[in-house]
């Protein structure tokens, strides 16, 4: 069969060889449709112009075939940098892009993503509600840095308003937050943990940088799932955060298998810390009412005989202690810089 080089009759540009003799080709240059024989041309129909690109000065990156505009860096974790980004198209989506900084930790980004997918697929009681408080997976795959090195990355949906970790909160409230604010943070955290444990998982890294609060709505999200695992597996944690030794029960740090209680102890230590206290002992400043301070000290000690193993039960005890300390629950305004 004789090969014939086709040119677009509309603009003269060269066309690729047609895949079938009667195929229709699109001219990449002028957008016309051309029949393979070259006898018929349909010019590109007039259509409204595309909208101008969003933030043309910001860098673009591609993950799993989708291009994103990097809006800026939200923060740095133990091994990843976290960016706010949006899909580079008019029909867009706000996302968080987590890119590994220490290349050896690529496996952690991957396992976090897969584990969150499992949690989202699960149907433990309350899944409809609580899966909204977990990072929602969008895509994962390598992303190329400016030097061309591929780095493991995961894309999650952005949750509006959840932008301050407890570390940021403690930076602002350097002597500790209002104990009444700590109560809602603790309770929200226990609710999420209750769901996670009921699904058969432990988080394994309930640390201040992984707890994001929504100041206005008194919401809390749990992020940083790279050490999470099924606790029935009886395996040690895959990794621990070197900067947060005080938040881990000693046995866990030394390689014991985690269980729901270890999550609850780490949660109590994070709350004690954001109150201005000491995570390892659970001692909190004198301004914290005794009922709450006692409960915290008890729950920070993994060997205490009354240490909780069930998040929902512990939440009840937190509610009781709060009632004893402050009376009937009521909404107390909590704010961070920039919020009304």
């Amino acid at each position: 069969m004789e090969l014939q080089l086709l040119k677009c009759p509309g603009c003269g540009a060269k066309l690729p060889p047609p895949s079938a003799p009667n195929g229709i080709l699109d001219c990449e240059y002028c957008g016309a449709m051309v029949s393979a024989s070259g006898s018929a041309v349909w010019p590109r129909p007039a259509r409204p112009a595309d909208d101008p690109p969003f933030a043309p000065d910001r860098p673009r990156v591609t993950v799993a075939g989708t291009r994103y505009v990097l809006l800026g860096r939200l923060g740095r974790g133990d091994s990843s940098d976290v960016f706010l980004a949006r899909r580079d198209a008019r029909i867009t989506e706000m996302v968080v892009l987590k890119v590994v900084r220490a290349l050896s930790d690529a496996d952690l980004v991957a396992r976090e993503y897969e584990l969150l997918e499992e949690l989202h697929r699960g149907d433990a009681q309350g899944a409809e509600h609580f899966t909204r408080l977990l990072p929602q997976p969008v895509a994962r795959g390598p992303v190329k840095d400016p030097e061309g090195t591929p780095r493991a990355a995961a894309v999650y949906r952005w949750s509006s308003g959840f932008q301050h970790s407890l570390t940021d909160v403690r930076d602002v409230y350097s002597s500790g937050v209002d104990p009444r604010a700590a109560v809602w943070m603790w309770k929200r955290l226990l609710e999420v943990l209750g769901f996670v444990h009921r699904s058969g998982y432990v988080h394994g890294a309930v640390l201040p940088p992984h707890l994001l609060v929504h100041p206005r709505d008194h919401g809390l999200m749990l992020v940083g799932w790279s050490s999470a695992m099924r606790f029935a597996s009886r395996q040690p944690l895959p990794c621990t955060s070197a900067r947060h030794r005080d938040f881990y029960p000693e046995a866990l740090w030394n390689g014991d298998a985690p269980n729901p209680t270890t999550d609850l102890v780490m949660a109590a230590r994070s709350i004690a810390w954001v109150l201005g206290g000491d995570p390892a002992s659970g001692a909190v400043p004198g301004g914290v009412p005794p009922a709450l301070a006692d409960l915290l000290r008890q729950q920070c000690d993994v060997d205490h005989r009354e240490v909780a193993y069930d998040a929902w039960q512990l939440k009840e005890r937190v509610s009781l202690a709060a009632r004893e300390s402050f009376g009937e629950p009521k909404f107390i305004h909590f704010t961070m810089p920039g919020w009304r």
Binding site: R47, D81, E93, D145, W158, G161, C239, A242
Partner: protein
């Protein structure tokens, strides 16, 4: 089309009168109404007129399969007047609404039914109640949503776009996944167009978004888990997950109000809805449903997170993790 003027009182009276009627009395069609047949329709037009100089085309593409039929039912009985009132309150002077009913092209007799753009309550209501709630639906977890999008993209003409470069609104309700392609055979069978090949649904969405602001509304959190992910790939933050189907009206009107700038942010919308007497619980549900999209617009009413002007990391860094051997 699009003549006649809107009266909230007349509309309210009409819907209230049928609040207690069984569904078969409200939706009397037992097959596709001949005037809602899309076959051979060249254009559905939303036009300016003397009475409506600022027309804004709005399409409601309603999934009528299975339990999704509750939404058209609820609109016809009580909520549609509220939607129109909410739009008028939000400063949209001349909304023109077209109803489409969507089913499954593989198993339903009338997988696509199309009304006309209307401004008056009586005609709007007529098209809605002429819809045939076939209640069938596909067996495999997908419905022919793409046919509705295809029709809107290629067979509607809006003056708001043509004259003022303002997009219309396309709201689609549903609880199943989209098909990946618009089938040329189905397009020929139900609409009468000749396509050379199947169209990827991505391309149809791209055509649709040139003249419409498309949104996909999922009725509740349980059904969200069945289809949200697939729709988000197509429509991103325009997939709106509601907590209860009865919020459809407030959510849709809120979306129009936010996009049109009638409400500077979600706080303003919340104040407006509160003024309308919405209960605290429902107000919260509506605001939660709208928050992700409002964040995309920068109208979520929360401060922008502090961002460092950084690119992706380069080189290799020490991990802050301690591996347990």
């Amino acid at each position: 089309m699009g003549h006649g003027s809107y009266s909230y009182e007349a509309h309210e009276t009409m819907t209230r009168a049928r609040a207690e009627l069984p569904r078969q009395e409200v939706f009397r069609q037992r097959r596709c109404h001949p005037l809602m047949e899309p076959q051979g329709v060249k254009w559905r037009e939303s036009r300016d007129s003397e009475a409506h100089p600022q027309s804004l085309g709005i399409i409601f593409s309603l999934d009528v399969t299975g339990s999704m039929g509750d939404i058209p039912d609820m609109l016809a009985r009580q909520r549609l007047p509220a939607f129109m009132k909410a739009l008028l309150d939000a400063g949209i002077p001349d909304p023109q609404v077209l109803f489409m009913a969507v089913g499954d092209a593989d198993s339903d007799h009338a997988p696509l039914q199309v009304g006309q753009f209307e401004s008056s309550e009586r005609q709007m209501d007529q098209w809605l109640t002429w819809s045939y709630l076939e209640g069938g639906g596909g067996p495999v977890g997908s419905e022919s949503y793409e046919l509705g999008m295809y029709f809107a993209a290629r067979h509607t003409d809006l003056d708001c776009w043509r004259k003022r470069q303002r997009r219309g609104y396309f709201f689609m309700t549903g609880d199943e996944r989209p098909y990946g392609y618009v089938s040329r055979l189905q397009v020929a069978q139900f609409i009468g167009d000749t396509l050379d090949q199947d169209l990827p649904v991505k391309q149809v969405v791209d055509e649709l978004q040139r003249t419409y602001e498309p949104f996909f509304l999922i009725p509740d959190l349980a059904r969200r888990r069945l289809c949200e992910r697939d729709w988000r790939e197509l429509l991103g933050d325009r997939v709106i997950c509601m907590e209860d189907p009865s919020d459809t009206v407030e959510v849709a009107a809120g979306l129009v109000g936010l996009c049109e700038g009638a409400f500077p942010d979600l706080d303003a919308l919340a104040r407006h809805l509160k003024g309308q007497g919405l209960t605290r619980q429902r107000l919260g549900a509506v605001i939660r449903a709208l928050t992700p999209f409002a964040a995309t617009l920068g109208r979520d009413g929360v401060p922008r997170p502090p961002l460092e002007d950084e690119h992706l990391p380069t080189n290799d860094d020490n991990s802050g993790h301690r591996r347990i051997p």
